[in-house]
Subunit: 621 residues, 2 copies
């Protein structure tokens, strides 16, 4: 077949596609009406796009969702889940019964918004403006790492283009020339509570898309032949393509077409019945779309054995430096990929980049896209490490939250934590990151005090499930541990302690050093203080804390370079909440708004320095 012929659909094919589109519409209505919940109108507008896409363009072996050569299909407009699940029925992935009877029901995998509980869903969507940035990550993997010919297809809503993350994503798609990425924007003109900002101003959409470095193709989203032509051109393009499809919300059900008050509302049974009749009734069409080419076997992910960096005890080494050193060390594994938000010389991610430039992706100052790209890379089996200042992960918090919902396996490293950073001032200080990261579903939160423990933790993050967050420190502080010391996640270290400890000083990261100095001062005053390094903030070493409570009569001083809410102190308290023994915990944390100054000045001002710890310990015994 010639290229021309591929682009020209015959009458029969158009009829078949029309029938399929009608089925997708009918099924979108059926499942949402049965559930009395969901977004049928946002599904109807995109039904024609999906009918053509799955019949003729998405190369996918639906019986084998793990096939490495499969294309990827992401519903960035996750609320159109009725349509996505109707697609899954059409390709034979789920049954008609599962679709209609279980949608949005308790215990069903067909949830209100898609999640990877379904094997054909790469990532959870439903927080708008996130599916596309994740798709960029998958496309990066395809074009630069896998070098496989799979294509990434992302369906976006028009409303979500108001999210800046969409433009971060298109910018990166253009910058990296992602020819394996096609975005379909369902421009149905209506948002949740009225018209969208741009309504049907397709020309403005086009100019924006083009200015951000992508090819734009404007089509009538209900013209099957035009859609087919656009998608064919997109697959053959030399860069990313955005198909801007002018559509009608509720298309196919005249009573609700293009009506503003129909967002997120299922059709009542009588209206649903009329609509289904008008659409030609229930169908059981089974589509077999194009199949992927067989993928070559993967290479082994590991190269040389990992040789972690080694440090001299007592030498002053910043944990951010150890992060960079460890990244470089684990870089012998070919599945390790690194991203940074244009601060790799600060986070020290650049130590990896110098050695493995092909597996480093510069995300410039777009933290949302950075985290999303990490999520996309792990979809393809890579082990992404993404870094920026701890404070600036707050910019991507919704993406981290959704990574938790997706059960994505990613590693994040936030440098420049706390007032310890000194002169740059509060805008640059991560002081709420422990609270935020601990509250992410299934997360791990690590905060090493020295270079040896930092490197050991980085090595474990590679294979750890879920969202893994490592907090590093700007300044150099003494190496505390021997190089071969193990640091299991969920563990802790006893740095000072004996049978006659009268108080336990508990720190993590930089405050461990303050606790050690305080313990020395207390010892010279005849007060034995235990010192615990809680490098694993989540999960926490409850056994170590129980022993400290037992041995000291419950006298704990927790010290953290973080605001008092939700951080290390809370983690300790949560862990011991159900204990019968009394605990008197003195909680030293950053309680005011910091300013500029030296690290010591600022830690002293915040009451987390050595003298404050000594005073708290004295007061407690």
């Amino acid at each position: 077949m010639t290229m021309e012929a591929e682009r020209t659909l015959g009458e029969e094919q158009l009829t078949q596609l029309g029938e399929l589109a009608a089925q997708l519409r009918v099924d979108s209505i059926r499942c949402s009406t049965k559930a009395a919940s969901g977004h049928p109108t946002s599904s109807l507008s995109a039904a024609d796009l999906l009918a053509v896409l799955i019949s003729r363009h998405v190369r996918y072996d639906w019986a084998e969702p793990g096939n490495r050569a499969n294309d990827h299909l992401i519903f960035s407009k996750g609320h159109a889940s009725p349509l996505l699940y109707a697609v899954f029925k059409a390709v034979g992935a789920i049954s008609d019964q599962e679709l209609v009877d279980t949608y949005r029901q308790f215990g069903s995998r067909l949830q209100g918004h898609p999640t990877p509980a379904l094997p054909w869903v790469d990532v959870a969507t439903g927080s708008l403006g996130q599916g596309l940035p994740v798709g960029v990550g998958i496309a990066l993997a395809g074009q630069y790492l896998d070098q496989l010919p799979y294509h990434v297809w992302v369906l976006c809503g028009d409303s979500e283009t108001a999210e800046g993350s969409v433009w971060e994503a298109l910018d990166k798609a253009g910058h990296y020339g992602l020819r394996n990425l096609t975005v379909l924007v369902d421009v149905n003109r209506l948002g949740q509570r009225g018209p969208t900002e741009l309504e049907w101003d397709l020309d403005t959409y086009r100019r924006r898309v083009e200015a951000f470095g992508c090819q734009a193709i404007v089509v009538d989203g209900h013209d099957l032949a035009a859609i087919d032509d656009a998608l064919g051109r997109a697959r053959q393009a030399t860069g990313p393509t955005v198909v801007l499809a002018r559509t009608v919300k509720g298309k196919g059900v005249p009573e609700i077409e293009n009506k503003p008050d129909w967002h997120g509302k299922p059709l009542k049974p009588d209206l649903a019945e009329r609509a289904i009749d008008a659409l030609g009734g229930v169908r059981q069409i089974r589509v077999t779309g194009p199949q992927p080419e067989p993928a070559p076997p993967t290479g082994a992910p590991t190269g040389q054995p990992v040789q972690l960096p080694r440090y001299d005890r007592g030498a002053k080494v910043a944990t951010r430096n150890a992060y960079g050193d460890a990244l470089r060390a684990i870089g012998v594994r070919r599945d390790v990929v690194v991203l940074d938000g244009e601060v790799s010389d600060s986070t020290r991610a650049d130590r990896f980049t110098d050695a493995y430039p092909d597996r480093y992706f510069e995300m410039f100052i777009s933290e949302q896209q950075m985290v999303a790209a990490a999520v996309g890379l792990q979809v393809r089996g890579y082990r992404p490490f993404a870094s920026t200042f701890a404070a600036f992960f707050s910019r991507a918090y919704d993406f981290v939250r959704m990574a938790g919902v997706s059960r994505a396996d990613i590693a994040l490293s936030g440098s420049h934590a706390g007032v310890e950073i000194g002169a740059d001032g509060p805008s640059q200080m991560g002081l709420e990151d422990l609270a935020a990261m601990r509250a992410v579903q299934g997360s791990t939160v690590l905060y090493p005090s020295d270079a040896v423990s930092c490197a050991a933790l980085v090595a474990q993050m590679v294979d750890r499930k879920g969202v893994n967050y490592l907090r590093t420190t700007r300044g150099g502080h003494p190496v505390l541990y021997d190089n071969d010391e193990p640091f299991p996640v969920g563990g802790s270290k006893l740095l000072r302690g004996g049978d006659d400890d009268r108080v336990a000083l508990i720190g993590a990261g930089v405050t461990v050093h303050n606790c050690l100095a305080a313990a020395d001062e207390l010892a010279s005053a005849g007060i034995n203080a235990r010192v615990i390094d809680l490098y694993s903030v989540k999960p926490l070493d409850r056994e170590r804390l129980l022993a400290a409570v037992r041995d000291t009569g419950g006298r704990l001083v927790v010290v953290e370079d973080h605001y008092p809410e939700g951080g290390l102190g809370s983690a300790v308290l949560e862990s011991l909440a159900d204990l019968a023994e009394p605990i008197r915990l003195t909680h030293l944390a950053v309680r005011g708004l910091p300013t500029s100054g030296t690290p010591t000045e600022l830690m002293d001002q915040a009451g987390i320095g050595v003298s404050a710890i000594v005073a708290a310990a004295r007061a407690s015994v």
Copy 2:
């Protein structure tokens, strides 16, 4: 003077401006070299822009920063603080000594990045891509509310245009036609660790800016006459203008001009000395720029007295509905302004909009811009209320964090909290918002259980300082309180209780209702359970908790529709950490990843439903 003449600078004026620019450069070098910290090169690139801006365009009475008619000057590239403070010296706001001797020192108001500790600084910057969105909020106030002729001038870096928030801001600037907004982009080609994404591709910048609805003017950022012309045109434009200035990083110091390794590095003293000499030495030029027109007196902010909505005890009313009703009620105050992220029919903010359309700003789906606009509006003395789903405030977390650093007075309302929302699934459930919002500096966190308490709290948020967060619930639950009951922030309510309580059930929001049902069930089994409504999560009513510990022997059951980390349970534990008495706290929270289902199914699955509370209470007594 004719308009033409205004735009044509004579030789003398150009010389004066050149001298001023040299002074700004010299002072940027002096203060950062003295501090051995800071970003001189990022200051040097923009010195010519600022020399022209403050001499001829910014209408500002520097002796009276509170003058309502003053223009606004925001350094979105907050790391160029040496330049900003050099400007403050040039206009006579600060002394040469304060500039050179205190920059970045402990206790100085000249912090590493600007904060409103300085009266001429509206908001803290330093998290890139935030100053412009805040400027949009100020410009909205000027054009739509104040109707004063002040202009908003924002200096952006080129690197920060990689942040999606910049495009959210320009999009809104274009949408609202903000003729009082001018953005100066200092396109110096170099980011922190190398070239920016677009380097000196001014044409791409121009196309992006224009596509987003703003006028673009490209200039040589070191051509004083061209800058003057551009700024003059910007002030007279009929919409927002972006001046794209091609500049050289480190301009004026040939040894470091346009060199990639000079970001964020102060000049060593010997280099500084040579550079200052070459720039003509230290100057003490004092600029008097244009002054503002006198502003008319402000109207009284209050209109009619506020009449809060009233509800019938026992009626099922969603707290989100009460939020909308209360917003409408406080709308009689002319300083109340409302924003929403295109979900006002869900958050119920639309109940305000219907009554006061002129004081409602639709932000579409751009939560970052929404929070930033709120911060900008409060700069001008308004009392903004911004709402979206609780989950989606995570999208704007960095903006909320920076609002805390700015000590901005804003009110946020997050609806659809917790698994209670039901069928929509985990992407739509706010389950980490209490942890995140509690950890914001100076924040207040409120979570009412019924409509009466919700309305009462909204009324107090109007005048409350700092970041105020209100968590509302999707579903209707019984009204528990009489209409005139007071609900002070920091208080709580005892809903069941007596002298012989054996356990205290502590909830907030929806779990209060579950606690009440559990208490009834326990009572019928002969177990007296106290029920506490902790509607004020931060600050917390410690006295009420102390009494509960004392009266029940420390048997507490805390129940929250939130992940277990950092939420209500942590707040209770933090508050009681130093207590000598033993506490056995059973913490019921959402410990797994939720799915879709009915609210009751999901609360039961999470172990925060009635039967789980009963079981926990029984186990504890």
